[in-house]
């Protein structure tokens, strides 16, 4: 969009115009050293930085240590440690307005049940519900971007139940919500969460044992479904389009010998440069009070190397009668590509990524509205989904490669509301098969999970009719509905 069209737009809110103008200002700079080869891959859409901007002046994802904030308050914000429930929620709302990210809104707002629960002593149910309801309503109406993410679980607390009750009632798109589930999570809590997900399309479910084995206990799920260190985050997320890369190859061997190593090499070169600029030139870590007050630590940051279009890459390289998701040889080729990609990425070390021993973390990117013909991450294309059992088993095998996020989404007939235990069985089975992250929603819900974020169908219709809407993610959702067929996901009966 030109600056003139942003200023005069009829469908952007004031806030959306402001952010769009800031993006244009940033993009008028050319401060990154990008090689000709990397730029060529960018121009061809093989490397894509997801509109991170030409001069990144904050990390893409920031995951503050909210426990520290609650324990110590904030000198910079002039806040003492909260002493009661209302005080806590008010302080958190204040802090959220000062946590930046790629979207300018916080992508992680805390393990909310754990933060809230200690403040519920001597608070009756009615007061607790009203306060938490008000808090969630405030978040939805002021953080106008669906990549804002809260976590609950794996223990069942009084606050967990209240949050689920509130989410079931409000049916808002923000915050995105993940329930972390461990082997010890009580069934009753999970059933309540599943029931909520069949009404408001959240929470999603994260497999604690998998994340903990990679990060230890101090991780969080931020933005779409990204596993990151608490008190850290990710400098950047840049993604590699395996589909377009495969189209360049003459055959499988040419892909493995030449194009995949070259794609990864140029990705790493480009990402190293973005990380360098944020770390060494932007002065973000030198100026932010989040750093000074130990809410984030530079050495807990990493960077996420994204990929997408695996299905199409496989279909392009495999024999013509072999389709990804439907044929063993095709699926095996998919795993071979991921194995190779994983090795190539782990071969590189960048000392600025000290949180992860210098390594980039792989991320299965969920796609953007302009990705026509290339599926998110390792997902089976919409319209080609196999039987759900086969689908979950196929998908689960890819999840081990992606500490910084991968997820699969399943849409169910509303009749599943009458048998939540059935969903519990499916969830449990998925985790046993090695699934890291999974989402369920009902086909008749107004809220729909586009890819890694939530949008209301009714808001898309409003935007379609030319009206401005509060959430900037509605526009992304509309594009995804038109181009990626996300409303046409298979309904599981």
């Amino acid at each position: 969009m030109s600056i003139d069209s942003i200023v005069k737009s009829r469908h952007l809110t004031y806030e959306q115009k402001l952010i769009a103008l800031a993006r244009e200002a940033e993009n008028s700079l050319h401060v990154l050293n990008i090689s000709e080869e990397a730029q060529k891959f960018r121009d061809e859409g093989i490397i894509c930085d997801l509109f991170e901007g030409n001069a990144p002046y904050r990390p893409r994802y920031i995951v503050p240590d909210y426990d520290n904030f609650v324990a110590n308050g904030s000198k910079f914000l002039g806040l003492k440690p909260p002493t009661d429930l209302e005080d806590l929620l008010n302080s958190l709302l204040i802090l959220y307005k000062h946590v930046p990210s790629i979207t300018s809104f916080p992508v992680f707002i805390g393990n909310l049940d754990k933060l809230i629960d200690p403040f519920l002593v001597d608070v009756d149910d009615d007061r607790a519900y009203k306060a938490v309801r008000r808090f969630f309503l405030h978040i939805d109406r002021t953080i106008s971007d669906s990549f804002c993410h809260a976590n609950i679980g794996p223990e069942s607390l009084r606050a967990t139940k209240i949050i689920l009750d509130v989410e079931k009632e409000l049916q808002n798109t923000v915050p995105n919500l993940t329930m972390i589930i461990s082997k010890d999570s009580p069934k009753e809590m999970v059933l309540q969460a599943l029931e909520t997900s069949m009404i408001s399309s959240k929470p999603s479910f994260a497999n604690h044992e998998i994340f903990e084995s990679e990060f230890g206990p101090n991780y969080a799920i931020a933005s779409c479904y990204n596993g990151l260190y608490v008190g850290g985050g990710s400098y950047t997320l840049t993604r590699l389009n395996l589909h377009f890369l495969a189209e360049k190859a003459e055959n499988k061997e040419d892909f493995f010998k030449k194009w995949l190593p070259l794609g990864v090499e140029l990705m790493i070169e480009y990402m190293d440069e973005r990380v360098r600029f944020i770390s060494d030139e932007s002065n973000y870590f030198e100026t932010s009070f989040l750093v000074k007050e130990s809410l984030i630590y530079k050495d807990r940051f990493t960077a996420m190397l994204g990929m997408f279009g695996l299905a199409e890459a496989v279909n392009c390289l495999a024999d013509s009668d072999q389709r990804f998701g439907h044929n063993k040889d095709a699926d095996d080729l998919g795993w071979r590509i991921m194995d190779q990609l994983d090795k190539l990425v782990k071969n590189h070390s960048n000392p600025l990524l000290s949180a992860t021993d210098g390594k980039f973390l792989l991320h299965a990117q969920v796609g953007i509205d302009s990705d026509i013909g290339s599926s998110p991450g390792c997902r089976i294309p919409i319209g080609e989904e196999p039987d759900i059992l086969q689908h979950i088993k196929q998908a689960s095998r890819f999840h081990k490669y992606f500490p910084s996020g991968i997820g699969d989404i399943f849409q169910f007939e509303p009749t599943y509301r009458d048998n939540i235990e059935a969903l519990y069985d499916i969830l449990k089975g998925s985790f046993k098969e090695g699934m890291r992250y999974i989402t369920f929603y009902a086909s008749d819900s107004d809220i729909v999970r586009i890819s890694g974020y939530l949008v209301k169908k009714s808001e898309i219709e409003k935007l379609r009719s030319g009206k401005a809407v509060l959430k900037d993610t509605t526009e992304l959702g509309m594009g995804a509905a038109d181009n990626l067929k996300v409303m046409e996901r298979k309904i599981r009966e």
Binding site: D387, I388, L389, Q390, I392, E413, T415, Y416, D418, N419, E421, A422, L423, Y424, D425, I426, K428, G429, S430, K432, E433, R492
Partner: protein, 231 residues
């Protein structure tokens, strides 16, 4: 040993507790006017043979995801010997098995089956013998006796409410009193007649409305049934 089946559904949320793998047997000994998969009635019309071992393999493959297996149909108890073989082979996997049956075979059949399965899901089409004949082509003497014999092994009794046939208070009272006299904790599921898949001319019967279903639900409660609900 082979079973003749119409299809297998890996995941189902409507055929017993939790998520279940459902095996639809081919062939039925009743001919219900509201059958929504009439292609399963004639043993020779459709379906395919599956080796007991292959079926067991398919079930074990889904083991992590299911609360159990339900044999449905058609009428699965017509192939009870084969089903018992499957049950025996699944024993070491601690698989819970239910049979969705019309209970019209001999008591010996269900007696043998009951040693190998967790529970029966019983379709009771009508209590009144004449209504039953109009709905299914056969009487219900054996069925009612089997319900009496095996009630402690029944997970759920299901009844489809079909306007013009069994949708009257007298019939409902008789049916509810019968079940209540056995065990008032048995799950009773009242199902609205729906025209999908039903043969002509019965597909033009209208579905009963919620008010009627609600009325029968209250009637069931009044009689003493504790776990009655409708769909």
């Amino acid at each position: 040993m082979n079973l003749k089946i119409n299809k297998i559904i890996n995941f189902s949320s409507v055929d017993g507790p939790g998520n279940r793998l459902v095996v639809f047997a081919q062939g039925c000994n009743l001919n219900c006017i509201y059958c929504h998969n009439p292609e399963t009635i004639d043993y020779n019309q459709e379906g395919y043979m599956i080796e007991v071992d292959d079926l067991v393999k398919k079930i074990v493959d889904a083991k992590n995801f299911i609360s159990g297996v339900t044999f449905s149909g058609g009428e699965c108890s017509l192939q009870y010997k084969e089903i018992i073989e499957v049950c025996k082979k699944l024993k070491k996997h601690q698989m819970k098995i239910m049979l969705d049956t019309n209970f019209s075979e001999s008591k010996e059949v269900y007696s043998e089956l009951s040693e190998h399965i967790e529970a029966f899901i019983v379709d009771l089409k009508a209590y009144d013998e004449n209504i039953h004949k109009r709905l299914t082509g056969k009487d219900n003497l054996q069925i009612l006796q089997n319900i009496e014999r095996f009630y402690d092994k029944i997970y759920e009794v299901r009844c489809v409410i079909v306007p013009g046939y069994n949708d009257n208070e007298k019939e409902m009272i008789s049916m509810f009193e019968f079940i209540n006299s056995l065990d008032n904790n048995i799950n009773v599921k009242l199902i609205k007649f729906r025209p999908y898949g039903v043969r002509e001319p019965y597909d033009s019967i209208e579905s009963p409305n919620d008010d009627l279903m609600e009325k029968y639900l209250k009637l069931g409660n009044k009689i003493g049934l504790k776990n009655i609900y409708y769909k």
